[in-house]
């Protein structure tokens, strides 16, 4: 007798299993995480860490970032000349779009950046035909931080604070350490003259990303093990 032609029993069993989980959640009144809830949790976690570890120095190393720092104080100064020389975008004329507004005070705890100092940038995305990367739409901000370093902050639309942030000096930018990951998203800084970077994923596959306004970014199908500048 052929068993073909009827619905696989597995699908009914899987449906029952999902129904069991759904009924359990319904009893508990559990709700799935929305993007907004995830962003808020990320902000709370980041600030909690910053409060504890940044008390003494005002900076907090990000896990796995190898150098960039989260800034917890004084974002009202200006960029150091060496940083501006590495990142031409910092010298471009500002527009109304570049104003961070009240979000900055929440981020830094030190008030809004000096007028005309912050920038909103659109990262370059994946080169055409890249299999393991898609463009991201997260707003990325650059603003002056301690010692004239540049702080890069990924600020989800509508959130009160950044999903992640770091600060870098000119040497960090040049040494490719000025980057961070936010979930599956990679964002980073590239010095003048670099038009694309190659990100290597942990499985060895590579993706090429364009650089726009000294910034690159993409949602990747895997964790990043390294980034190189295409010269």
């Amino acid at each position: 007798m052929s068993d073909a032609g009827t619905r696989p029993r597995f699908l009914d069993d899987l449906g029952h299993e999902l129904a069991r989980v759904a009924a359990r959640d319904q009893r508990r009144g559990a709700r799935p995480r929305s993007r907004a809830r995830t962003a808020v949790l990320a902000v709370v976690a980041t600030l909690l860490l910053a409060t504890v570890a940044g008390a003494a120095t005002g900076t907090l190393p990000l896990p796995g970032s190898g150098g960039p720092h989260f800034v917890t104080r004084d974002a009202t100064g200006s960029f150091a000349p060496a940083v501006v020389r590495e990142l031409a975008v910092l010298a471009r004329p500002r527009t109304a779009q570049d104003s961070m507004g009240s979000a900055a005070a929440f981020v830094t705890g030190a008030g809004s950046p000096a007028p005309g100092s912050s920038l909103r940038v659109v990262p370059g995305g994946p080169m055409p035909g890249q299999e393991h990367a898609t463009a991201i739409s997260l707003p990325v901000w650059l603003l002056p931080a301690d010692g004239g370093t540049v702080s890069m902050q990924v600020l989800p639309e509508g959130a009160d604070g950044p999903a992640s942030a770091f600060a870098a000096d000119a040497a960090m930018v040049e040494s490719r350490r000025a980057r961070m990951t936010v979930g599956d998203d990679l964002v980073g800084l590239a010095p003048n003259g670099i038009r694309s970077v190659t990100a290597t994923l942990s499985d060895g596959s590579q993706v090429r990303l364009q650089v726009h306004d000294n910034v690159y970014g993409a949602r990747l199908a895997g964790s990043v093990s390294g980034v190189s500048f295409d010269r």
Partner: protein
């Protein structure tokens, strides 16, 4: 104008945020199509079973992130999850089970008759013919790269050595070859129907 049916399913998925049990209707609507899609892409009933379970587990856990309202949007969102899992599986050879584990789900075993039923559901015989024909149409470099990586299961480093090219070039050849095979599978009417 959107039909009631078009709106209904997207709404069911949205409703399941507050009423988890409403997810059952969404599952019933798509379970066959997702399994068929994954079986045809993996040609492996066991892998497709696990991928189907993880797809719906991720959809259940992430349903709060669905922002659409129509049937098309709900289906597109679900198949996006399936495609991501499939990509990870093809690249690593490992089926992700994170959502299944976090939900504490048990993946039901396949019953003795399920293999035949699933092969029938997916029309595997037809898919195998299509893949075999398309494989023969790949250019020589791609065919050899796909053969070494997929059939012989060699790591990319070894594929590159055998082909005397860089690892990146080997990956690109395999990737292009698989894309061509996948495109041929997508043209099978029942698959196209499942994806739209």
């Amino acid at each position: 104008m959107r039909s009631k049916r078009q709106l209904g399913e997207g709404r069911a998925l949205r409703r399941s945020v507050a009423e988890p049990q409403a997810f059952a209707a969404f599952y019933e609507q798509h379970a066959d199509a997702v399994l068929r899609f994954l079986v045809r892409r993996t040609l492996d009933v066991d892998a497709a079973r696990d991928l189907t379970a993880e797809t719906f587990a991720q959809a259940f856990r992430g349903r709060g992130r669905f922002r659409g309202s129509t049937e098309e949007e709900a289906a597109g969102w679900l198949f996006g999850i399936a495609r991501n899992l499939l990509r990870h599986y093809v690249r690593s050879g490992v089926v992700e089970r994170r959502a299944v584990e976090k939900l504490g789900m048990r993946i039901p075993p396949l019953e003795p008759g399920d293999y035949a039923r699933i092969e029938e559901l997916a029309g595997l015989a037809q898919a195998r013919e299509v893949v075999a024909a398309e494989f023969g149409r790949l250019n020589g470099d791609q065919r050899e790269a796909v053969r070494l990586r997929i059939l012989d299961e060699l790591p990319y480093r070894e594929v590159a050595q055998r082909l005397a090219v860089s690892e990146q070039a080997a990956r690109a050849r395999v990737s292009r070859g698989l894309r061509q095979l996948a495109a041929a599978i997508d043209e099978i009417p029942s698959v196209r129907e499942a994806m739209t």
